[in-house]
């Protein structure tokens, strides 16, 4: 025990003696949170429209007014030439072309079905889809008005219809910052723990100090624990730091228990650091380590559900995600912070993290002797 403590003290001494590292540990979370949280957003604002209005009736103008009133769309160009409209779409100057054909108003007046044509620039599939959904909402609103108008003139009774009212829970304002911050925090502590911890061990190999350590009576698990705990502590410190920053700058709510979040972060980091040490034990140089670490890091992040809901992934991806600690931690962080979930709600996820963590750590301890 005394040996482990001494080893840990040695690590901290080395980390904070490195002038750059000592500062980076503090500076990196500030910069990342302040840049990424406001920058990464899925809200669609200012979709540039090009309108081909061949109809020019009160109906078509009504539709355009509705579109403009939404605040999402901005009519950039009104034209009658299709060529011009599509060249704007081609040159990315416009995101969407709405073509209202001649006779649109007349047909509505007669009660005939009418069609408009919408072309969307789907270079960015996600924003294309979202603007499409917004537009659909506006058009179905208009449909309802037309229907009411028609029916109203015949039957002055209330129209029977399902009236949908909705309320958004846990993030009432649909504030993307509050959705992104827990995810970015999770990525942040992962990267810090992984890079610092992994490079540290590989460096001992490159310098040769590990030779010297190996002839001492230090036991395998003591060595691995001493390589894990300092970086676990630094990552947790950065998590706390990030939560405070989020509170100050983004008024990030924290509904659940802070203790629970830190418990889960600890389990999560044990898994991440277990993997990190496992990689670095088998790496001969820092390049090798970084290469493999990034391989895992990118998979973890992109499949971890920061942007895309993991529930809508294909089945095989969901199976892979069973072994992705970030999925659990990302979910737990959001649930605890936004929803105030308790131990029972996240128990299964915690258990999964614990299992992954123990497995990887045991593998790291066992691999240590063989590989070094």
């Amino acid at each position: 025990m005394r040996t482990v403590l001494y080893l840990i003290r040695k690590e901290f001494k080395q980390i904070f003696r490195d002038v750059f590292l000592g500062k980076a540990i503090i500076a990196i979370p500030i910069v990342q949170l302040l840049i990424f949280v406001p920058a990464v957003t899925l809200e669609i604002k200012r979709v540039n429209l090009c309108i081909i209005d061949r109809d020019m009736t009160s109906y078509s103008r009504g539709l355009l007014e509705g579109i403009q009133a939404s605040g999402v769309f901005r009519i950039k160009q009104l034209t009658l030439a299709e060529d011009e409209a599509y060249s704007l779409l081609n040159s990315n100057k416009s995101d969407m072309v709405i073509h209202i054909p001649l006779g649109f108003g007349k047909d509505i007046g007669r009660g005939n079905p009418v069609k408009i044509m919408v072309s969307v620039n789907a270079i960015n599939a996600m924003s294309a889809q979202l603007s499409w959904v917004y537009l659909n909402g506006i058009i179905s609103g208009m449909n309802m008005d037309i229907a009411l108008e028609n029916i109203g003139s015949l039957l002055p009774t209330n129209l029977k219809q399902v009236d949908v009212t909705h309320r958004i829970w846990y993030n009432e304002m649909l504030n993307y910052k509050h959705f992104m911050l827990p995810g970015i925090l999770t990525i942040l502590i992962t990267v810090i723990g992984m890079i610092l911890g992994g490079i540290n061990l590989v460096k001992e190999k490159e310098i040769g100090t590990i030779e010297q350590i190996n002839v001492t009576p230090i036991k395998k698990h003591q060595f691995i624990i001493a390589k894990m705990l300092p970086f676990l502590a630094i990552s947790l410190m950065d998590l706390a730091f990030g939560l405070v920053l989020g509170r100050i700058f983004f008024k990030m709510p924290f509904v659940g228990s802070i203790g629970l979040l830190f418990l889960s972060a600890t389990l999560f980091l044990i898994a991440i650091l277990g993997l990190t040490l496992l990689i670095s034990i088998y790496s001969h140089s820092q390049q090798q380590f970084l290469f493999v670490a990034f391989f895992f890091l990118i998979i973890f992040i992109l499949m971890g559900g920061i942007f895309t809901p993991t529930d809508s992934m294909p089945l095989w991806a969901k199976r892979i995600n069973l072994f992705n600690p970030m999925v659990y931690q990302m979910r737990i962080t959001r649930m605890v912070m936004l929803k105030g979930s308790g131990l029972i709600d996240i128990g299964k996820d915690l258990l999964a993290l614990l299992t992954i963590g123990i497995t990887l750590s045991v593998l790291a301890v066992r691999g240590y002797r063989k590989a070094v």
């Binding site: 040996t3 001494y6 040695k10 003696r17 310098i207 100090t209 030779e211 002839v215 001492t216």
Partner: protein, 306 residues
């Protein structure tokens, strides 16, 4: 520990893939002696040391160190070995003092407890104790590494090429320190590529291509030299060696600094050699009989083993 033998190797072998790093090593190192392992780079010195220090396990044969088996009792053994790897491998970013404290603590002891053992060595670097180890000079790094290897009062000290890359004065000083350690009852196994250092050992083993050629006292090894040795000097060393090696009467010709050490196949040929060299256009030749050094014997042994 009543046993006089500190290291006993019986038919030890180690290979890395297809490469046989060590073959049929039989060796006994006695308590309290300075045992030298002499051989060129890649001969297997470091591999043998890594077996002794339990960093590697032998593929065949048996190896006991301090009466303990290196495979099954490595944990017990590690407490009693001090190892100084060939490369300086202390923490560059920790100070002299911190490095020493670190190794003392890891072995469950304190600097104070064993200070008497390292006092002679550490006193040289103590004025710099607050300096990061990475900023020490070569000779001081080596003394710090030795202090760290000794801080837990090991029964056996294993030094892998401790004087490589160290200046001549520090080298002499270092060997004095090793002699001093013998008085504390510490057995030292040391490897070196420098032949002159071999003479400072109590016994030496010559190693070549993973096999031991000879184990004896340095004097006995020198005396094992079979032929008659001559030192030949001329103005131009390179053409001299070329001419000598082209002569069928010459058995061996090895460059030694500014002279060439020569043995002959034909007894008495040395008298006619200046004539031969003159014909080859080499002038100002001096030839004198010399007594062989350990390196001569080593080269002789190496030639015998293909």
């Amino acid at each position: 520990m009543a046993d006089k033998v500190v290291i006993r190797a019986e038919d030890v072998g180690k290979h890395f893939g297809k490469l046989h790093a060590l073959r049929g090593i039989n060796l006994e190192v006695n308590r309290g002696e300075i045992f030298g392992l002499i051989g060129p780079d890649g001969a297997g010195k470091t591999t043998l040391f890594r077996l002794i220090t339990t960093l590697l396990t032998p593929d065949s044969g048996s190896l006991t160190v301090l009466g303990l088996d290196v495979v099954t009792q490595y944990r017990e053994l590690r407490r009693q070995i001090g190892y100084m790897p060939g490369r300086f491998s202390l923490y560059h970013d920790l100070t002299v003092e911190e490095n020493l404290n670190f190794y003392a603590t890891v072995f469950g002891t304190t600097v104070k407890e064993n200070y008497t053992l390292i006092a002679d060595i550490y006193s040289h670097i103590e004025p710099f104790r607050r300096r990061p180890a990475g900023k020490l000079s070569g000779g001081m790094k080596q003394k710090l590494a030795l202090s760290c290897a000794l801080i837990h009062r090991p029964a056996l000290l294993v030094l892998d090429e401790p004087t490589t890359g160290v200046d001549a004065v520090s080298r002499v000083e270092f060997w004095e320190l090793l002699r001093g350690l013998r008085e504390h009852g510490i057995t030292t196994v040391v490897s070196t590529p420098y032949m002159d250092e071999a003479m400072r050992c109590d016994r030496v083993a010559l190693i070549q291509s993973g096999q031991l050629l000879s184990i004896d006292t340095p004097t006995a090894i020198m005396e094992g030299f079979t032929g008659k040795l001559y030192s030949v000097r001329a103005e131009e060393n390179y053409s001299l060696i070329m001419a000598l090696r082209a002569n069928p009467h010459v058995h061996t010709a090895h460059p030694f600094g500014s002279s060439v050490h020569v043995t002959f196949n034909t007894e008495g040929y040395h008298a006619t050699l200046p004539q031969y060299l003159h014909e080859k256009g080499i002038e100002n030749v001096t030839i004198e009989p010399i007594s062989p050094g350990i390196e001569d014997r080593f080269l002789e042994l190496m030639e015998r083993e293909p």
